[in-house]
Every structure is written in C-alpha cells, then in structure tokens.
C-alpha cells in the first residue's frame, strides 16, 4: 500500500546518480503505551546523509516514532516495542531488548522541542556528551567543543563567553547550543523533535538553514507540524495519521503529487 520511494532524490538533480545508502530501516514497528497501540506496523527506510521529515496532525504518532530511534520511551514504564528498527552498517536492532538504550543514545543524538540547555556554562553544555564518553584531555575537549559550536553556527556568537550560563542565551541561540551539544559526539543520526516550535520566525529560519547545512554530514530525522518547514528542509517526507504511515516519498513528490487521498487532504489543509 505504501509506495516505495523512488531511488533518485529529485530535489538534488546534481546528485541524482549517487547511490543512496540506507542508514536505518523500520520493519513492522509497532509501539505500545500500556495497552494503547500508538504506532501500527511502520515500515520506512531512512537514507544516509539525507533529511527525512515526519509530518501529520497532532497525535498521529510522529514524535512517538522519532523517540523510538533513541529509545527515549524506555524511560517511561509500561511501554513496549514490537518489530525492528535496523541501524546500518552493523545491522543492529535499535529496539531490541538485548541492545542497551545507552549504547543507542551514544550513537543517535536528539534535539528537543523546547531548548533545554543544562544550567551550566556554554562550554560545559557542549562538552557534556564528551565527558560522558570519558574524554578527559582538555585540549581535545576544547577542540571538539569549538568544532561542534562552529557546525551549529553559533561559535561567533558565543566564543567570547563560553563560561557564561547556557541559560543566558536567547531561545534560538539556546536551541543551536542544544544542536551543538548533540553534534559534539558525532551522532550517526540526529533526531529533531519540532525544534522550532518554541522559536520566533527569525530564529526558526536560522535553525532551518543549519539543518540544510547539516544534511551532508549527518542523517537527520525531523518531526514538524509545519508543512512548509518539511518542504523547505527535507529530502524525504513521511506522512503519518493515527499511528500509521500513510505515505512516504520524495518531499517534492509528496507535496506536489501525493498518491494518497489522506495525504492530499492534509497538505491542502483540509484537516490537521
């Protein structure tokens, strides 16, 4: 029922010939909060170094799906996964009980809906992931922190005040700091859970630019309730409704010529 995405990304004609590597694949993924089945038999392929957007009306399960990738649900008692999310190249199943969620979270980073910097210095915010991984050498930590802050396009704004609190930044800067924090440990996949929903339009534009810059470096999955945002930043888009994956395709294809009636109704604003 779900149409397979076409192999070439039409948004990138220059790269149309390149082989797209599958970074992760959900196979028959279902998720339960207690007895409530929140995700129903999802099958989807996440392409490496591409941006995949998850869209759909409130309560459709897009955030629930995103949080399966780094096992955030394990923090809530009474939740259960069914099916698999395979992470390539080593083909481990991210939601397998035998796989430690901490190991998963060391490989897959996340940026949350509301900026949530630690009430520590800007430097320590970014360094925290490195410290958890046991990196002690001060010059190495400094180097990695600077690199992450540069990648998150916030270095110039904070380089003179790395010691001031992360909470002293503006909302948009805080969110870029959180992106730097997640990037510092070189995650294989970076998850964004509605990263701009608490930000003003200018800050939102900067985050979107940043995601566009990141697409060549890291695999991104982004949940958004903003369809224009999905159209602007993503290569692939998945439309979800009531816990099911309705359609998954190239972003341009999905927005201009959806194959499902439900998708069309949603993107033309008939519900949501």
């Amino acid at each position: 029922m779900t149409p397979r995405p076409s192999v070439e990304a039409t948004r990138r004609p220059a790269n149309a010939e390149e082989a797209l590597v599958v970074k992760s694949r959900a196979e028959g993924l279902s998720f339960y909060y207690g007895a409530v089945r929140a995700l129903k038999d999802l099958n989807i392929e996440i392409r490496e170094k591409r941006v995949t957007a998850l869209i759909g009306p409130s309560g459709c399960g897009k955030t629930t799906f995103l949080r399966c990738f780094n096992r955030m649900h394990d923090l809530t008692p009474g939740t259960r996964y069914e099916g698999r999310i395979i992470l390539f190249p080593d083909s481990i199943d991210l939601v397998d009980k035998g796989v430690d969620p901490i190991e998963v979270r060391m490989r897959i980073g996340m940026v949350f809906q509301k900026p949530n910097p630690f009430p520590k210095s800007i430097f320590e915010n970014v360094a925290y992931g490195l410290r958890v991984r046991g990196l002690r050498s001060k010059p190495r930590v400094e180097e990695e922190v600077e690199r992450a802050l540069r990648r998150a396009a916030i270095w110039d704004e904070v380089k003179d005040r790395l010691d001031s609190s992360g909470l002293s930044l503006s909302g948009g800067q805080q969110q870029r700091l959180c992106i730097a924090r997640a990037l510092a440990t070189n995650p294989e996949i970076l998850l964004f859970d509605e990263p701009t929903s608490a930000l003003d339009p200018i800050a939102t534009a900067r985050i979107e630019e940043l995601i566009a810059e990141l697409r060549d470096q890291v695999t991104v999955i982004i949940v958004t309730h903003n369809m224009q945002q999905a159209a602007r930043v993503s290569d692939y888009t998945a439309f979800m409704y009531l816990g099911e994956l309705i359609e998954f395709d190239n972003t341009s294809k999905l927005f201009t010529n959806p194959s499902q009636k439900a998708t069309e109704d949603y993107i033309t604003g008939r519900y949501g």
């Binding site: 901490i102 996340m110 949530n116 009430p119 992931g129 958890v132 909470l167 959180c178």
Partner: protein
C-alpha cells in the same frame, strides 16, 4: 441614542470593576492583619525573652559553666553540646536522607511497596518526638551501648529530622524539569550520571534548605534528649574535635556526656529561685536567635541557588 446606551453600559462596567476591586482590597487588608498578628506574637515573645534575660546577656554567660549560683551560671557546656550534637545530626542525616530521597525519587519502581514506604516517611514526620526518644533509649543507649553520649543524642535527632530531610530533598529533586533529564539521557548518560551530574547539583539549594530547616527543628528538641538521659549539669567540656597535631581531628567527644541548650533552659525554668528565670530567659533568647539565624541562612542559600538556576 446609541451614544447614551454606550455611555450607560460603560458606567456599568466601571461600577462593576470598582466593586470587585474593593473586594480585592479587603482581602489584602485581612491577609496582612492575620500575617502581622502572627509575626507580632513571635516578636513580642522574643523581645520579652530579651528584656527578661537582659541582665545575663553578656559574654560571661556564654563562657561560664552552669553553677548553683544563678548570677555565676552560664551556658558554655550547653551551647558547645548543642553545636556538637547538631554537627553529628547533620553528618548522619544528610547522606542518609539525601540517598533515601534519591532512591525513592529516581530509582524506586512505582509499585505498592514504594507507595507504602513513601506514606510511612511522610507519617514519620508527624510522630511525636518523645516516641523517637523512647526508641533511641532502647536502640542507641542500651542496644548499641552508646549510653548518655553525644553520639546517642546526635543519632536520635537524626532519626527525628530524617523525614523532613527526605521530603524536602524529594521536593527539590522533583523540581528539576523532565526536559533536563531527557537532555542528559539523550546524550547517553546513565541514570547515575543523570542524577550525579545534573539532578543533584541543580537541586542543592533545596536540599540544603531542607537540611537547615530540619536542623533548626532539632536544635530546640528537648523531650527526646531528656528521654535518652541528657544531663543538665555539666561543668566540663567534651574533648575538642579539632587537634593541634596530626590528624587534626578527634572523635573522642562523641562518647562524652553532654547537655544542650533546651535542656539547660528546662532545668533553670523548673527551679524555684527567680534568679534562674532570668538565666532561662537569656538562654531562650539565644536559642531563638540561633534558630532564626539558621533559617536566615536557609533563606539566603535558597535565594543564591534560585538566582543561578531559573528554568
């Protein structure tokens, strides 16, 4: 026509708003009156103690041992005893209380066992202090053979304030937003790392406040100390915890007999000679001052930490 209707309704709205604002004002006045009468009682009590004890509120009073002669008696052994007991109580109840709170808040599975433990911890805060005294008499004084020692007193008061420390610590752990925990977990932190690197440091202000509130409750407790046999006449000081030579501290004082501020007061109050009432009032003023000082420190600590961390 239209204009007059609009004007009339505007006046109605204004009259209505004014009436409701009067109610607002009434509540402010009533609230202030109640608050000030409560404060006034405390202030009068304190001033009364100071006035009555004024003849004895001097340096000699602080540096003299108790005596049969009221005008020569002092509270040296009492305030030293109280300080050492507080030191013991803080040292014992802080780690146990904080650890218990961390377990209950961060680790304990949400099941009926945990629920029972939680309810009991809250209930323990309401147990009369003399019951703790009886428990301690059997357990610390006889079973552990600690006798009438500072160690026994410190442990007894630790038990007494543990529920306060646990409840206050849990409150402040709970105040750390879920988003912060999730941020740390998402970076691959273990539960212990999340607790030790984030939750605990961010709630230090609340924990210290709870600790100080607990200690200021303990400092005035009399009943449990009488039960476990505090002496009221101690004319010597326990061995100092600080030493001139290595290792610079000593724990010999833990096993020594003691008296405490409220015990000394109680002893003086129960004497027929009115001269001792003056001593009791002076000691009361100092004890109340110590308590207010501790609460002041608690408020300052909370303020400092709040300023640094506002979510």
């Amino acid at each position: 026509m239209h204009a007059t209707t609009a004007e009339a309704s505007l006046q109605q709205i204004r009259a209505d708003v004014n009436r409701r604002k009067i109610l607002d004002q009434v509540f402010v006045i009533v609230g202030m009156l109640i608050m000030f009468s409560a404060l006034l009682v405390l202030v009068i009590l304190f001033l009364d103690l100071v006035r009555e004890g004024a003849p004895r509120l001097n340096w000699d009073f602080l540096t003299s041992f108790p005596s049969r002669k009221a005008e020569r008696a002092g509270i040296l052994s009492a305030w030293v005893g109280t300080s050492l007991i507080m030191l013991t109580t803080a040292t014992v109840s802080m780690p146990i209380g904080v650890a218990a709170a961390i377990y209950l808040e961060e680790y304990a599975p949400k099941n009926w066992m945990t629920a029972i433990i939680e309810i009991n911890v809250t209930n323990l805060a309401g147990v009369p202090s003399i019951i703790y005294g009886l428990l301690a008499l059997g357990l610390f004084v006889y079973q552990f053979n600690l006798g009438q020692s500072i160690a026994a007193a410190g442990l007894t008061l630790s038990l007494l304030i543990l529920p306060i420390v646990i409840v206050a610590t849990r409150e402040s752990l709970r105040a750390v937003p879920r988003a912060i925990r999730e941020a740390a977990y998402a970076l691959g932190a273990t539960r212990w790392e999340v607790t030790a690197h984030h939750v605990l440091p961010y709630s230090t202000g609340g924990i210290l406040t709870g600790m100080i509130i607990g200690l200021s409750r303990a400092i005035g407790e009399t009943a449990p100390l009488i039960t476990i046999g505090a002496l009221s006449f101690i004319a010597f000081l326990p061995e100092s915890p600080f030493k001139g030579e290595f290792p610079f501290f000593s724990f010999a004082w833990l096993k020594e007999a003691y008296t405490a501020m409220p015990i000394q007061m109680f002893n003086w109050v129960s004497r027929p000679d009115p001269a001792f009432q003056v001593n009791a009032a002076a000691a009361g003023a100092i004890l109340l001052g110590m308590t207010l000082l501790m609460n002041g420190v608690a408020i300052y600590v909370r303020y400092r930490f709040r300023k640094r961390i506002n979510w």
